[in-house]
Symmetry: C2
Subunit: 447 residues, 2 copies
């Protein structure tokens, strides 16, 4: 390792004097920015703390044991293998020196930039209750998804061995906190996993005795959807065996369960889908942020006072030309990435027209179990089996690479057609639920 | 949790008074035993510390980023879902009470048996150098495979960022210790990963500068194969860019590399494929074991003095009717499982003929990279591309389930035909190689 202020080794194809763009984060926004910049005579460096781009909309299916991690993730550097002007680095950003114009990595090495694009996404937010995190993991990364999968499957495994009926009931109770698309999708997938996939697999327990509770503090599920679709979603989930509890927030969360409306509900598995918080980019930049930690950006997505720094996607609080906030959706991040790439190229060519970012809303989608969905595209609304087919086609279309499209289509054929889930592996601490925070003296398995 | 001597909850379909067989371990041997016993009016319990059966012969392809974990593993309980007389438990065995006839699990609960079948396999052995384990992981479980994959891919990622050329060279040096089939397969797959798959992905480093060293203490690779196939394997590996070092053992192993023949070789990634040791079944049973820890069993695979306890597969030191030791191969374990199931059923029917276990050797196979293999079936020997096709067809045939067969065939089509590897994900501690034991003060990344 070299000293604390050294730069990382430069790429062999990088040319002295060329404009250097550093893109932090290879999610939907960062990926589009890099793709839009590649081939434009610019030295591009993309840095991410993961080696893979993740197709987050299908993450809940990895958590629900329908898909494998490799079905929905791609090594970032392989996506850019043909672009010699793009360099990929695995690294964790620790800060940005906005005066010296370089990004600081965790080992003290630096990445100099002329233009910086920050697209680092968001993490779950526990609204000030960070101590709930070990009891109620959220769903943002592949590790989150395999952790949730492990907890769900291990709860059934432990129930199968458990002689005490009260603890068996707690092991078979699953609580999902948050009634947005992720909460709805997790609740539907767990209910089906219990009632359809696992039903014949156990001998001592009855998977049909499984309770799946979806808790939403607001008055309805899917608050960004029209009310009739929210009501439809609730009915559809209830048909799958999900208990939907609306209108009261969870006030306590522990290894034993939750407290709702003053009443304790015992459960060994709690999942968090209630809120997100932006990555610490505002701190790196010393920039103004909103309540969710998102950097407040101007109409051209730059940070006020820093025309060389763009913040896009879930990390940014952007306002559309219609005055409405740009939502934290994959299509919004993608459009922002495309806009920023175009703007940087225009600036270098001297053709920048200073046109603001215009977000085109394409709609909202959410699935309910393995055969229903709701689609809201403004005047066009759809629900039920046809919406689910539309959802499936859209998602297969947006997956990267023919191999992944085929693999996902194959898995869905099996899961949806035959009812079998191929990805029910428990790995990494597969025994004794070592990652779960256990109450001392509760008498769980020793790891 | 109940008290220290309680039994686990019994299965609903288990019948009082029926003969109870407990099978410990759901590898090739255990699986065959259960399948042979199912439907015979017996209460069968299979207990494993993993929730999945693993197709170990393809594990090196998960380590080499060609296949996904779910391609080669199946939830044990789903394999027996249709057999109501088979109960599957996730549990870690801690001991056996041979007088009281019950298996003791890690939480103190017990599994009573009338007949016990132990098929718990083996782990790597460091021949008394257990402190080498953190520096040189072996390949036995899915976690081992993803650990090795992570180390290999992270070594390239770190090399891409490393400005110091000596450390970059160490990051690009891969040492595999042990020249048996696993070592040969790992060396070939890493050489191809570096020279074929990653070659266009990096900008600062040259993947072609990668060194892959295969070290074997004996005089030739694949010692169980005929000499001409060993020589062919060596030439084929050298063509793939592997340096084969024969005739001297590694005398030291550390975070810096190895010492061979008194000379240090610097390398950041070392993999262990040199030896295995049986699971601690001999200790559980207080039975006689050979040097590798395998329980010495009689001609009917029972433990001397315990006609109700069978030990099969890699855990047992069995001698064939020809006086030769039964090898530690998947087909041998499967045949033993079938034999034991038949014998137990015959005993219950009173038709036991006391015929000893007869092992039929079907041959040895090993692959060299993605297009060559060696096959030794006694009089029938084969090497090269045709042997590799034969290897592929045999392995696809033995995979369980149509979905896995299709998925593996698809992955191979891509990997072998197009040269792309879809499973290059780094997960769980994907940053800073947290699992690697770092020499203090060496200045690796802080996690």
């Amino acid at each position: 390792m070299t000293g604390a202020t050294s730069s990382t080794a430069p790429g062999k194809d990088q040319v002295r004097g060329r404009h250097r763009v550093v893109v932090v984060g290879a999610g939907f926004g960062g990926l589009e920015a890099v793709q839009g910049l590649a081939g434009g005579g610019i030295d591009i460096t993309v840095v991410d703390r993961r080696n893979h781009h993740l197709f987050q909309p299908l993450l809940y299916q990895v958590a629900g044991a329908s898909l494998s991690p490799s079905d929905i993730a791609w090594p970032i550097r392989s996506l850019f293998r043909k672009h010699r002007d793009v360099r990929t680095l695995l690294g964790e950003v620790e800060g940005v020196d906005t005066d010296g114009r370089h990004v600081i990595l965790e080992d003290g090495s630096t990445l100099p930039y002329d233009t910086l694009v920050i697209a680092t996404g968001s993490r779950h937010s526990y609204f000030g209750h960070d101590r709930w995190e070990p009891f109620a993991p959220g769903l943002k990364s592949l590790e989150d998804a395999t952790t949730i999968r492990r907890r769900i499957l291990l709860a059934f495994e432990e129930a199968e061995r458990e002689a005490d009926s009260a603890r068996r009931a707690a092991l078979q109770t699953f609580i999902i906190i948050g009634g947005g698309p992720t909460g709805v999708e997790l609740a539907g997938t767990i209910a089906e996993l219990a009632h359809l996939t696992l039903v014949r697999d156990f001998r001592s327990i009855d998977p049909n005795a499984t309770r799946v509770l979806l808790i939403e503090a607001g008055q309805r599920l899917l608050p960004v959807f029209p009310e009739d679709l929210s009501a439809y979603t609730r009915r559809a989930l209830e048909k799958l065996g999900v208990e939907v509890l609306l209108g009261a927030p969870v006030t306590e969360c522990s290894a034993n369960g939750v407290v709702l409306d003053g009443k304790p509900i015992r459960a060994e598995t709690i999942l968090w889908a209630a809120g997100v918080q932006a990555s610490p980019a505002a701190r790196w930049l010393n920039a103004e942020a909103d309540r969710a930690g998102r950097v407040i950006v101007g109409p051209d997505l730059t940070v006020p006072g820093h025309p060389d720094i763009f913040v896009i996607g879930d990390t940014a609080a952007a306002t559309g030309v219609d005055g409405k906030p740009v939502p934290g959706l994959a299509p919004a991040a993608k459009q922002a990435g495309q806009y920023v790439a175009r703007l940087i190229r225009q600036r270098l060519q001297g053709t920048d027209t200073a046109a603001p970012f215009r977000y085109r809303h394409q709609g909202n989608l959410a699935t309910i179990g393995r055969s229903l969905a709701v689609v809201d595209m403004g005047r066009f609304k759809l629900r039920g089996a046809l919406a689910w087919w539309m959802w499936k086609l859209i998602h297969i279309y947006f997956l990267i690479g023919a191999q992944n499209r085929l693999s996902v289509a194959l898995s869905w054929m099996w899961t949806h057609g035959i009812g079998y889930r191929g990805s029910r592996l428990i790995t990494h601490g597969n025994f004794g639920r070592q990652d779960a925070a256990k109450k001392p003296g509760k008498g769980g398995h020793s790891p």
